[in-house]
Amino acid sequence: MWAYIINLAVLISINAILAVTLNFILGYAGIFSIAHALFFGVGAYTATFFAMKFGAGFLSATAAGMALAALISLALALPALRVRGEYFVAASLGLQMLAVTVFTEWKSVTGGIGGLTNIPPARLFGFAVTQPEHFLLLSLACLGLIILVIRALVRSSFGRSLKAIRDDETAAWAYGKNVAVIKTTAVVVSSALAAVAGSLYAFYLSFINVESFVLDTSIQVMAMVIIGGTATLLGPVIGSVLILLLPAGLSYLPYLPVTEIGSIQQIIYGGAMVLLMIYRPGGLWGFQDTRSSRKGGAA
């Protein structure tokens, strides 16, 4: 039971990193990306590549993933600067679908649908992190660090500029903010940090394939952010806990007909998404925290 809980906790913390980093552009900058799984994937594949080919440790493999994700995210920033709202959704959709094709077809690096197996355990300061408990500590540390970084950014003048752009881009521009630079930076930071989740994921499962980095993953991360509460620090974390625990919890429901278990779980999952959006559209964490973070931002 203990090992099972640890396993879920690791997956939750990895997904929470994705949700928190997506929230940084979605909640604070108003950039609605459904290509987040792409950077998750870039982080995972790059870290794996460096770990398997050059025996890189956790830190250097992750750094490589972050650097590449940051570079690729410029491709996402480009349309983000030119178009808004629903156009950007479509642009990120296009990128996400392209990425899936590349992940599938570039078999020499990604292994295609067959994926990459036997990824060596993460090495940190000369120690191999093999115990699940230790890995949980590592991923929680990463999550904590990323939350701190984002908290600092959001509360800085950079964060205030972001929110100003989100609320009224034209006004922010008129006010003398360099909208292009600010938006690009936000996208690059968010994508690079999402790559950390990818690296953790690859080292943890020691198996990755394209199926973990598809559009559905992006949507799921977005659901975590929105269900938890956008533009809040802890909302996305709560959202990811909920989204991952829901199917796990549903699998304990007794007396479901065996072949329909999966469908019924999915129906409940979908239904929960709909009902939450109708009755708690600000997210579960949304109402209380928005006010306090606004106060914090103003102070």
């Binding site: 979605l26 709202g85 156009y87 479509a90 990128l95 392209l98 999915q266 979908g270 929960a272 959006m277």
Partner: protein
């Protein structure tokens, strides 16, 4: 000859995409709702047609009518019981997106539970192609799809430019405030948009049931294509969405002329991405829609 064949295949597929995209675009234009559950309406219509025609043995017209009823009912249900409730709140764009996605998941799994998860198709001589020229095969359904798409589209534009509600719908997409000047209830107009937008997926759904065949996950792809076509065509332009769908259908098939099949989906999304970067207003979109 291969090129000509691919062109015809592209037209057939494009006609199906165009109809679906027009429905999506109509709804989006009139209500500003990003109806990603549009694919679910498609799935429901397709399965209902298959079930009543191939399983119950109903006359195809009756089956098609049932499919229309189901699609419209679904569209109205979404507007009434999901979107309208969410839109009580402010900043609902992405809340709507997630809710619609939830509905898509529910529908896909319900269909699987009720109708089975395997492949089904409607068997009809219409989908058997005949050799018209050496090496060139065309199915009657290809011509039918193109004709129905043209008729459906002209009927729709006619309706939009002639009737009171139709004009209101177009007005709503251009300027939501204008509608009150017309003295119409925006809620009613939204319902019309959902009813018509959902009904117009039915021909595409039926053709797909005949040609490609169905599985419960068929709606997801339809949704992606509709979304892409709407953007490529220019948000708010029905004509644009129709051409956008046609273009994507053609691109997907013509890509095979020089590329391996695994790249044909990528081609669709490269087209989408290029449009967004270089021509964000789409074919016929009004420039103000973009930044």
């Amino acid at each position: 000859m291969l090129l000509l064949q691919l062109l015809i295949n592209g037209l057939q597929l494009g006609a199906i995409y165009a109809l679906t995209a027009v429905g999506f675009s109509l709804i989006f234009g009139a209500t500003k709702i990003f109806h990603v559950a549009h694919g679910a309406a498609f799935t429901i219509a397709a399965y209902l047609f298959w079930w009543s025609n191939a399983v119950l043995g109903l006359n195809w017209l009756l089956a098609a009518a049932l499919a229309v009823v189901a699609a419209v009912a679904f569209g109205l249900f979404m507007e009434r019981c999901v979107y309208r409730l969410i839109q009580r709140h402010e900043g609902a764009f992405f809340t709507v997106f997630i809710a619609a996605f939830g509905v898509q998941i529910i529908v896909q799994n319900l269909i699987g539970t009720v109708f089975g998860r395997g492949f089904v198709s409607v068997t009809t001589p219409l989908s058997h192609s005949v050799q018209v020229l050496p090496g060139l095969f065309v199915a009657p359904v290809a011509a039918l799809a193109i004709v129905v798409a043209v008729i459906g589209f002209s009927a729709l534009t006619n309706y939009l430019s002639r009737t009171h509600t139709g004009m209101a719908m177009r007005a709503l997409s251009e300027n939501p405030d204008l509608i009150r000047v017309f003295g119409l209830d925006p809620g009613r107009v939204a319902q019309y948009a959902f009813a018509i937008g959902s009904a117009i997926v039915v021909p595409g759904a039926i053709f797909t049931a005949m040609t490609a065949g169905l599985n419960p996950a068929v709606g997801a792809h339809v949704m992606l294509i509709s979304l892409a076509a709407t953007i490529v065509g220019g948000i708010g332009s029905l004509r644009g969405a129709a051409y956008g769908g046609l273009l994507l259908g053609l691109a997907e098939n013509l890509a095979l002329w020089r590329l391996d099949p695994q790249w044909s989906e990528a081609v669709t999304f490269v087209v989408l991405f290029l449009f967004i970067i270089f021509r964000p207003a789409g074919f016929f979109g009004r420039p103000h829609a973009a930044k």
